[in-house]
C-alpha cells in the first residue's frame, strides 16, 4: 500500500480519459486504443432485479464464442435512469440503446451488431428508431431535457474501478482543494454556487460547513446521509451504486474544509449493491492513499467508515441519524445545540445527503458561476427525481431546477399509461403533499413547492391518476408515519395516531364534516409542536389533500362514496337487472352467499335476474370478475 502522488494521479487520468470519452455520444467515430467497442450494461438495482447479471454472463460467453473478448469490453455501470425499460444496455461507439434485453437476444446482438457492424433495430429503444435512421438516445424525449450533473457518471463508468473515476477528472477537485484552496475558499465557493441541501429542507450547504468550521475542537465529524427512507425515492441509491467515489471525494473535501479527520456514511442495509460498491470504493481509495494519512502527499489525513442503517425512517433526521451511529435507538434530540456545535459523539459535525455531495466535486472544478447558472433565483443547479407510479417512463431523471411538472411528467415521463387522466403528483414522500393538475406549470424549486403545500423532499415524484383515491393516499402516508414515529414526543406519537384514526373513520364511511375541521386543527397543532422534522411534516399529506381534493373527502363523508372506487367499505356491487341473464354463475361463486335470485325476468330473458345483498357482501369482487355479461358493476 502506497500513496499515489499528484503526478501519478495525472498519469492515470491521461491513460483513462480517452477510454471514458469513447462512451460519450458526441465522441462518435473516435477510436479507443484497446477495444473497438464498449458494451455498458446497467448494474443498478432496477436492472439487476430484471436480470442484468445473467445478460453479462451470456455476453461474455457469446463474445468468447465469436473470438471478440479482446476487442469488445463489457462494463457493468450504474443506473441509466430509464428503469421502466430495464434491463438496459448501450453499445458504443454507436451509442445503440438496447432496452428490455433478454438472454435470448444476446447471440443475435453479438453476431449482427458486433461481428457484422449492424445494430439490431428491432431490439433498440423504439424512440431511438426514427424515419431518418437511428438517433442518439440523448435525443429522445426522456433524455433530451435532462442535465446530468449528480448522475454524470451513472451509466458511464464502472463504479468498481477507481481508475475509471479518475479518468473523468475524479479526485482532481480534491487535488485542487488540497493544493490551491484554503478552507475559507471552499466555503465561499459553495456559498457562491448557491448549493442547497438535496435531502429535503434545502439548507445552504456552504453555510452549514461554515458553522461547523467555526467551532474549535480536536475532533470533528463529516457524515453522509445515505439512509434513503422515503418510499419511492431511489436517487441516492443510484448515485452510490453508479458513482461511489464522488461521495468519498466530496466527503474528504468536507473534512478538509471543516477540519475533520473522520467521516461516516450511514447507508440503508436494504441497499446491498450500494453497500458493496461503497466498500469496494473505500478499499480502493485506501489502496491509492486517497483516504488515510498524508493524502496526495499533502499531509492531510481523512478516513471514512460505513454504518448500516437498520430500517428506521426517523434516522433520516440529522440528530436521529447521529444518535443511531452512536449505537442507540435512533431518536432525535432537541436543537439547539445544532450538530455544527454538538453533533456526533457530542463533537462538531456536518451531515449532508448523497446527492448534495455528488454535486460538490463538479462545483469545485467548474466553478460556482457554472453551477449558479442553472436553476432559478433561489434554487440553483439541478435536481434528481425518482419518477414512479402511474407514468410511462418510470426511472431517474435529473433536470435543472425550475423545470415545470408538465415537462417532467408529460415530456420526460411520457405521460400517464392506458389513456388515464392525471390526478396528482406527490413529492416529498411522507413529508410532502399532492400537487393537482392546476399547478402543472409551476417551476419546481424549493420555495415554489412549499408555497403550494408540498416540499422537495429527497426527490421522489409519484404520479397518480383518476383511479387513485386521495383520502386513501393520505391514509397510506399516515400509516407510514404512525409506524415510523419514534415515540419520543407526544404530538407526533399520539397526534399522528389520532389523525390516522380519523382518516380510517372517513374511508369506512363513518366520518362527519366536523371530523374534517378537527383533522385540520390537529394537523396545525402537530406541525407547530412536534420535536423533529418527521413529526412537523407528517400532517402535510393530509393538509394538501384536504386543500386540493376536499370534494373527495366530502364525497366520502356526505355521500358515503369513494369516487375513485378504492375504499372498500364504501364500494357497492350492483346488478343491472336488464343485463343479467340469470345464469347464476355469480351466485355459485359468491363466498359470502350474498347473491340471490329475484323474481324479475328482463324482457327477452328466460331466467330471473339476481341481486346482491349489500349487508352480506364482503366486496371481494369475485362476481365482477366472473360475470360474462357485464351486468355487475362497482359503484
Amino acid at each position: 500500500m502506497r500513496n499515489i502522488t499528484i503526478q501519478e494521479l495525472e498519469t492515470i487520468r491521461e491513460r483513462m480519459a480517452p477510454h471514458i470519452r469513447f462512451r460519450h455520444e458526441e465522441m462518435i467515430g473516435q477510436m479507443d486504443e484497446n477495444y473497438r467497442a464498449h458494451i455498458c450494461v446497467c448494474g443498478g438495482t432496477g436492472c439487476t432485479s430484471s436480470g442484468s447479471e445473467k445478460l453479462i454472463a451470456r455476453l461474455e460467453k457469446e463474445l468468447k464464442a465469436n473470438g471478440l473478448e479482446d476487442e469488445v469490453q463489457i462494463i457493468k455501470t450504474g443506473c441509466f435512469g430509464l428503469c421502466a425499460l430495464g434491463p438496459v444496455m448501450i453499445v458504443h461507439p454507436e451509442g445503440s440503446f438496447y432496452s428490455r434485453v433478454t438472454e435470448q437476444m444476446i447471440p443475435e446482438i453479438v453476431k449482427t451488431h458486433l461481428v457484422e457492424g449492424k445494430p439490431v433495430t428491432k431490439y433498440l429503444y423504439q424512440e431511438t428508431v426514427t424515419e431518418n435512421g437511428i438517433i442518439g438516445y440523448d435525443q429522445t424525449n426522456f433524455y433530451r431535457k435532462q442535465n446530468r450533473v449528480a448522475l454524470r457518471n451513472c451509466g458511464r463508468i464502472s463504479p468498481e474501478h477507481i481508475d475509471e473515476y479518475i479518468g473523468t477528472d475524479g479526485y482532481f477537485a480534491l487535488k485542487k482543494v488540497l493544493t490551491e484552496m484554503k478552507p475559507e475558499d471552499v466555503i465561499q465557493t459553495l456559498l457562491d454556487s448557491g448549493l442547497r441541501g438535496r435531502g429535503g429542507a434545502g439548507f445552504p450547504t456552504g453555510l452549514k460547513w461554515k458553522f461547523a468550521r467555526a467551532y474549535d475542537n480536536d475532533q470533528k465529524y463529516v457524515c453522509c446521509n445515505a439512509d434513503e427512507g422515503d418510499p419511492g425515492a431511489f436517487m441516492d441509491r443510484s448515485v452510490l451504486e453508479g458513482d461511489p467515489h464522488a461521495i468519498l471525494e466530496a466527503m474528504t473535501i468536507a473534512g478538509y474544509t471543516i477540519g475533520a479527520s473522520q467521516g461516516y456514511i450511514y447507508v440503508r442495509a436494504e441497499y446491498p449493491i450500494a453497500v458493496q460498491r461503497l466498500q469496494i470504493a473505500i478499499d480502493q481509495a485506501h489502496e491509492y492513499g486517497l483516504l488515510g494519512d498524508n493524502i496526495l502527499g499533502t499531509g492531510f489525513k481523512f478516513d471514512i467508515g460505513l454504518r448500516l442503517g437498520a430500517g428506521a425512517f426517523v434516522c433520516g433526521e440529522e440528530t436521529a441519524l447521529m444518535t443511531s451511529i452512536e449505537g442507540n435507538r435512533g431518536e432525535p434530540r432537541p436543537r439547539p445545540p445544532f450538530p455544527a456545535e454538538k453533533g456526533l459523539f457530542q463533537k462538531p459535525s456536518i451531515l449532508n445527503n448523497v446527492e448534495t455531495y455528488a454535486n460538490i466535486p463538479q462545483i469545485i472544478l467548474r466553478g460556482p458561476a457554472w453551477f449558479a447558472g442553472m436553476g432559478t433565483e433561489k434554487s440553483k443547479g439541478t435536481k434528481v427525481f425518482a419518477l414512479g407510479g402511474k407514468i410511462n417512463n418510470t426511472g431517474l431523471v435529473e433536470v435543472p431546477m425550475g423545470t415545470t411538472l408538465r415537462e417532467v411528467i408529460e415530456e420526460i415521463g411520457g405521460g400517464i399509461p392506458n389513456g388515464k387522466k392525471f390526478k396528482a403528483a406527490q413529492t416529498g414522500g411522507p413529508s410532502g403533499g399532492c400537487i393537482p393538475a392546476q399547478h402543472f406549470d409551476v417551476p419546481i424549486d424549493y420555495d415554489n413547492l412549499i408555497a403550494i403545500g408540498s416540499m422537495m423532499g429527497s426527490g421522489g415524484l409519484i404520479v397518480m391518476d383518476e383511479d387513485n383515491c386521495m383520502v386513501d393516499i393520505a391514509k397510506f402516508f399516515l400509516q407510514f408515519t404512525v409506524d415510523e414515529s419514534c415515540g419520543k414526543c407526544t404530538p407526533c406519537r399520539i397526534g399522528t395516531k389520532r389523525l390516522l384514526e380519523m382518516l380510517e373513520k372517513i374511508t369506512q364511511g363513518k366520518g362527519t364534516l366536523e371530523d374534517l375541521d378537527k383533522m385540520e386543527e390537529l394537523c396545525h397543532y402537530i406541525k407547530a409542536n412536534a420535536l423533529c422534522g418527521l413529526g412537523q411534516t407528517a400532517p402535510n399529506p393530509v393538509l394538501s389533500t384536504l386543500h386540493f381534493f376536499r370534494d373527495e373527502y366530502i364525497a366520502h363523508v356526505v355521500d358515503k362514496r369513494c369516487p375513485a372506487g378504492v375504499c372498500k367499505d364504501l364500494l357497492r356491487f350492483v346488478v343491472d337487472p336488464n343485463k343479467c341473464i340469470g345464469c347464476g354463475l355469480c351466485m355459485r361463486n359468491c363466498p359470502a352467499s350474498a347473491i340471490s335470485r329475484t323474481d324479475y325476468v328482463a324482457p327477452g330473458h328466460k331466467l330471473a335476474s339476481v341481486a346482491i345483498d349489500a349487508d352480506k357482501c364482503v366486496k371481494c369482487g369475485v362476481c365482477l370478475g366472473n360475470c360474462k355479461f357485464k351486468a355487475i358493476s362497482k359503484k
Partner: protein, 164 residues
Amino acid sequence: MACKVTTVPFRGTKEQEQKLLAMIDELKDQPGALMPIMQKAQEIYGYLPIEVQTMISDRTGIPLEKIYGIATFYAQFALAPKGSYRCSVCLGTACYVKGAQAVYDKLSELLGIHEGECTADGKFSLEACRCVGACGLAPVMMINDDVYGRLTPDMLQGILDKYN
C-alpha cells in the same frame, strides 16, 4: 413497532456462540459498536432472540434493556425466526399506487399468515417492506433475494409453487 415474543425454542449451537463472541471482541472497542454487533449477530443466528441479546449484554457489559430497546426500535431486527423463504412485498408509494396492497393481501391469504409471522412448517414468512428501489418494476416483491416485478394477485400462486 409491535413486539412479538416468539414461542419457538432457541436452538443456537456452540459454533454460533463462538463466532458471536469472537465478533464481539473484534468490534466492541470502536465507537458506536452496538449496532454493528447486533447486525452481525443477526447474520449469525438469523434473528435476535433474548438468549442472543443476553450473550451480547454479558460480553459487552451493555445493559440488556438497552439492547432490547434497540432490537425493538429498528425494523431490521427480528425477535422471531424467519421462514426459509422470506416473502417481502414492497409497500412503498410507487408500488402502492400500482396496487401493491392487493398483492400483499392475496399473499397473506394464500400463506395464511400476517405481517411478521411464519407458516407453521417454517417455510414462508411474510413482511411488508418500504421500497426495494426497483420502482420501475412496481409492484414488486422479494422472496429471499429473488425479485418479482409487475405483479398481479393472480400470479402469486404460481410463484409460490416454485418454492414448494
